[in-house]
């Protein structure tokens, strides 16, 4: 022992530093796993209101249910235990009464035999056989035999008449000695096989002997004798079997005062020591309920005494007896808990969605707003007071924002207009000067016809440019303006390049902002084909086409995501008037280096080399801004350029039919307003 202790101690000492390290490592591990669980926890933690409410409600209600369930279960289990004990006690009480009654009636038989028959008879003269037989017949069911012995063991009388065993000695049988030992009492023996008579039908009966000392008169002389009543053991057995009949696991047995078993449901097994019983100890318990552990099994024992005999009726309730019921109840409790939990979840779901739905709707409105849909009508207003107030406020603020935006557009437009005017006035004199110079040269050279053409084109150009001060014109006009411009430039550049118009006739009736193509053409000439040799076959293509939208949103997103590359793929549908217009200006000139191309619309970009001649880059930016301002962010210019291959600039504008009303709306502000109007009409 001591050695072991010592060893253990040294072990511990040696192991201490190691342990420290281990502990640290373990701590680390724990921390890591904690972090992991934490992250998992956060991963699965709901982040929305409904989820949070639902989870919280469910956890709270489940906890409550669990507590309730456990409390109920404990109470119920205790109750069940108590009630089963009570039932058994009741049963025991009844059985004790029955047994006592039975034993009393047996004593009465003995009394009757003694006081009414034996005391009145002188055994030397008369015989008690007849009376004995009479009493026996009256109680045949409960009796096996009746017999009267003298105190020397000699048999005086017995019934039912049977052959007495030869050399039978009763004086050493227990019933005989105890009767003479305490002669004022009656004595009940433990069950035994009757060993008095020989029954030629090979019958051997289990009996309980009731014996008493009697005072006999033999020829006037008082003598002592023993009266033996052998009670049929099966009566007691049947009584006990009835008690034990429908019990699951629990049983009742009977012992005498010193613990010898009188009846046990498993008497044979006990006898063969297949099972064990705590009978010797239990017989010495006081009456009432006891708890004990016998052979490792916890059990409750109820003891009751049978009066006069000192017999003990003992009920044993092993824990396993109501284990089955308790297991069943456990399942029932779990079942009820789960059902309640399920119902809770559903109810909580309804409650949480009730609370969170208005918030969610409001949130969705805000999300749409982030996507650019700034329609105050779309903002959700409803739900609880607070949420409704939030919605209303949001709606108001969006209305306000929209208003402010419109104001900004107008202001910007005005600003741009003045800028444009300034630009135009900058450009125009050059252009006009050059053109007029060309015309002078033509007139001088005698090319009158050409001069006339030039003048006509110039006049047309200016008419459209002015357009009686309007900013919105039809595409037809815009394209004619571009054509006029190109015609003039072609002459000026002595036809070093070709101009091809490829126009879809459909588009001519749509609206556009004026002077958006001309700056691009100007750009194409300056940067592209203007400086080329006539032999190089420079060419500027202007393609304009209408792309109907599948649906407003789809088209927009499509455009946004894929640019114009997929335009050709989009199948057109004549039925849908909505759509977009694309005008491509393609030249096969020198092209632009990528960095120039990329930063074409970046107003802050300062090119290192002064590639910007004539300040015409400003024109592209200008056009882009104007389109965007007027129609929205998704519209504008896109540029694709490949050095030495050419440049392709695409103007993207919405297809808005050109009429006075639209013109007016567009003039006054935002394309979006127009769009909304269209939506509304659609809905209506």
């Amino acid at each position: 022992m001591d050695d072991n202790v010592y060893l253990n101690q040294t072990d511990m000492n040696v192991g201490a530093p190691k342990n420290e390290k281990e502990a640290m490592e373990r701590e680390k591990l724990v921390k890591a796993s904690l972090r992991k669980t934490k992250s998992v926890f956060y991963r699965y933690m709901p982040h929305d209101i409904q989820g949070t409410i639902l989870l919280t409600f469910t956890i709270v209600s489940f906890t409550l249910l669990m507590i309730l369930g456990i409390v109920l279960y404990t109470l119920f289990a205790r109750r069940m235990n108590i009630s089963s004990i009570e039932t058994t006690e009741q049963l025991m009480k009844q059985s004790v009464v029955n047994l006592e009654d039975y034993l009393l009636s047996m004593r009465r038989i003995s009394d009757a035999m003694y006081y009414d028959v034996i005391k009145n008879t002188d055994i030397a003269e008369g015989s008690v056989d007849n009376e004995m037989n009479l009493i026996y017949e009256a109680h045949k069911d409960n009796l096996v035999s009746f017999s009267l012995f003298l105190n020397d063991g000699r048999l005086i009388s017995a019934t039912p008449i049977a052959t007495v065993k030869e050399d039978l000695d009763v004086t050493d049988q227990v019933w005989f000695t105890s009767a003479l030992g305490k002669m004022e009492n009656l004595h009940f023996s433990t069950p035994h096989v009757e060993n008095l008579f020989l029954d030629p039908t090979y019958k051997y009966s289990w009996v309980v002997s009731l014996s008493r000392a009697v005072e006999l008169t033999e020829g006037s002389n008082p003598r002592l004798g023993v009266l033996l009543v052998d009670m049929n053991y099966s009566t007691i057995k049947q009584m006990m079997e009835r008690i034990n009949k429908d019990s699951a696991g629990q049983y009742v047995y009977l012992t005498d005062s010193s613990g010898n078993i009188i009846y046990h449901p498993k008497q044979m097994q006990l006898n063969y020591e297949i099972i064990k019983e705590n009978n010797i100890n239990e017989a010495h318990y006081t009456d009432g309920l006891h708890e004990e552990v016998f052979h490792g099994e916890h059990r409750q024992v109820i003891v009751d005494s049978i009066s006069y005999t000192g017999w003990k009726l003992i009920a044993v309730l092993p824990e396993s007896a109501y284990q089955l019921d308790i297991i069943n109840m456990r399942f029932l409790v779990i079942l009820l808990l789960s059902c309640a939990l399920l119902i809770m979840i559903f109810i909580n779901r309804i409650i949480s969605s009730r609370i969170s739905l208005p918030l969610n709707l409001l949130n969705r409105s805000i999300r749409n707003m982030e996507n650019g849909d700034m329609y105050p009508e779309d903002i959700y207003v409803g739900g609880t007071q607070e949420v409704e107030h939030l919605g209303r406020t949001l709606r108001h603020s969006i209305e306000r924002i929209n208003q402010l935006m419109d104001d900004i557009v107008i202001k910007q437009e005005e600003k741009r207009k003045s800028e444009m005017d300034a630009l135009q006035s900058q450009i125009n004199p050059h252009f006009l000067y050059n053109t007029l110079d060309s015309i002078v040269w033509m007139v001088e050279g005698g090319h009158n016809k050409d001069a006339v053409f030039m003048v006509t084109q110039l006049a047309s150009l200016f008419r459209i440019s002015l357009s009686s001060g309007k900013n919105i014109i039809s595409l037809e006009q815009e394209l004619r303006h571009a054509e006029n411009y190109m015609n003039i430039q072609k002459v000026r550049y002595k036809n070093v390049f070709n101009v091809v118009f490829d126009i879809d006739d459909k588009i001519k009736s749509y609206s556009t902002i004026k002077l958006i193509i001309q700056p691009i053409l100007e750009n194409a000439i300056y940067y592209g084909v203007g400086d080329m040799d006539p032999d190089d076959g420079g060419e500027i293509r202007i393609c304009a086409k209408f792309v109907p939208a599948l649906s407003d949103f789809l088209t927009i997103s499509h455009e946004k995501s894929e640019g114009k590359a997929g335009i050709e793929d989009v199948s057109t549908d004549e039925m849908i008037p909505e759509g977009d217009i694309y005008i491509d200006v393609i030249d096969n000139g020198y092209g632009m280096p990528p960095e120039v191309c990329d930063n074409l619309f970046n107003e802050e970009y300062e090119p290192k080399s002064s590639t910007v001649k004539h300040g015409s880059g400003v024109g592209l930016v200008n056009v882009n801004n104007r389109i965007r301002l007027r129609f929205g962010e998704q519209y504008g210019l896109t540029v694709e350029s490949e050095p030495d291959e050419g440049t392709k600039i695409t103007i993207h504008i919405p297809a808005i039919p050109f009429n006075e009303e639209n013109q007016k709306i567009l003039e006054s502000g935002h394309y979006r307003t127009l769009r909304k109007k269209a939506d509304k009409e659609d809905k209506a």
């Binding site: 906890t63 507590i67 004593r107 002389n221 006081t286 009456d287 009066s307 006069y308």
Partner: protein, 342 residues
């Protein structure tokens, strides 16, 4: 949280209610009144009534000595065990601190023991002894009585003295013709007294001839009737009458008085108990002798036991045998010493 709290609150209050339901067990404090319940099988039994009287006197004496209020509740079961069971229940309900029981049926004390045990009220049995097995069912059961074996033996010895001194054997056949008047069938005193008396005489060499016996249930009137029958049957053959108690002996005397038989040819009559009328019968010679069953002594023992039990005092000094039994000795009474008694 609120709900949980409420839940606990409800459970807590439930538990509290249950706790309140349990009766408080009050500690016996000195100066409190003491209630002693007594139930007897038949208060008209001479011996029992003398015990009751003595008990009453003891109570009065103790009251004046200790100055404590001692109440003695006396019930008569009138020979019905069922009545007695009810009376015990009633006494328990009344709040008796201790109950003294003179059983009707000594073989059926179950209900009384159960009731007393449930209420934790100790019981002092007296005069009628229950079997050992029943006595051991609870540790607060006590018995006060006399040693029945001794009384039978003394009766036998007294009878032998008489036979030796006087001319009892009237017919000179060398045998004493006798009749036996017995108490209740099954009563341990009856069995033991009869048996031991006869045995003792046989032991002392007296030859006996039993002419008859009768069960007179300790009762004077019944004994008289039974005796009349036997006088009719046996006539003057009877030389000795043994009675299990004085009442029955007196009954026998009554029967002879009524029969008109000459006083000189009466058989010798012997009783047990030494009750008041018995003693006077011994004095005037109608009863040859009796055995003194110490009624005042028993009453005193009962009272002492009951008083100490109800006060929770120690029982030491009471000469308890096996912690349960108090047995008082008998004394022989003959004409010579009769004046010392009563």
């Amino acid at each position: 949280m609120k709900r949980t709290f409420l839940c606990f609150l409800i459970i807590g209050s439930m538990a509290a209610c249950q706790a309140c339901g349990v009766n408080e067990i009050s500690e016996p404090e000195s100066g409190r009144e003491i209630k002693i319940g007594v139930t007897v099988y038949d208060q008209y039994d001479t011996f029992i009534s003398s015990i009751l009287n003595d008990l009453n006197e003891d109570v009065l004496k103790a009251r004046s000595e200790t100055g404590r209020e001692i109440i003695l509740e006396t019930y008569n079961s009138a020979q019905s065990q069922a009545t007695q069971d009810d009376q015990v229940e009633e006494m328990i309900k009344d709040g008796c601190d201790v109950i003294c029981v003179n059983l009707v049926d000594r073989t059926a004390p179950s209900n009384i023991i159960d009731a007393a045990r449930n209420a934790d009220v100790p019981i002092v049995f007296f005069n009628r002894e229950l079997v050992d097995e029943d006595m051991h069912r609870w540790n607060k059961l006590y018995y006060v009585g006399a040693d029945a074996f001794l009384s039978g033996k003394m009766q036998g010895e007294l009878a032998v003295d008489v036979i030796r001194e006087k001319n009892v054997d009237k017919n000179h056949d060398g045998e004493i013709q006798y009749v036996m008047l017995e108490g209740e069938a099954g009563h341990q005193d009856a069995i033991v007294r009869s048996e031991n008396c006869v045995n003792r005489m046989l032991e002392l060499g007296v030859r006996l001839d039993k002419l008859g016996y009768a069960i007179a249930n300790w009762n004077r009137a019944q004994a008289a009737t039974q005796m009349e029958k036997m006088i009719k049957n046996q006539g003057s053959d009877i030389e000795f009458v043994f009675a299990n108690n004085d009442d029955m002996a007196l009954g026998a005397i009554d029967a002879y008085n009524a029969s008109g038989i000459n006083r000189s040819s009466w058989p010798y009559i012997i009783g047990i108990d030494g009750t008041e009328p018995g003693l006077s019968a011994v004095k005037d010679g109608t009863m040859v002798a009796t055995v003194y069953n110490d009624a005042p002594g028993q009453a005193d023992a009962i009272f002492q036991l009951a008083y100490r039990l109800s006060c929770g005092e120690s029982l030491s000094g009471l000469e308890l045998q096996g912690d349960k039994y108090i047995r008082l000795p008998y004394q022989k009474i003959t004409q010579e010493n009769v004046d010392k008694f009563g």
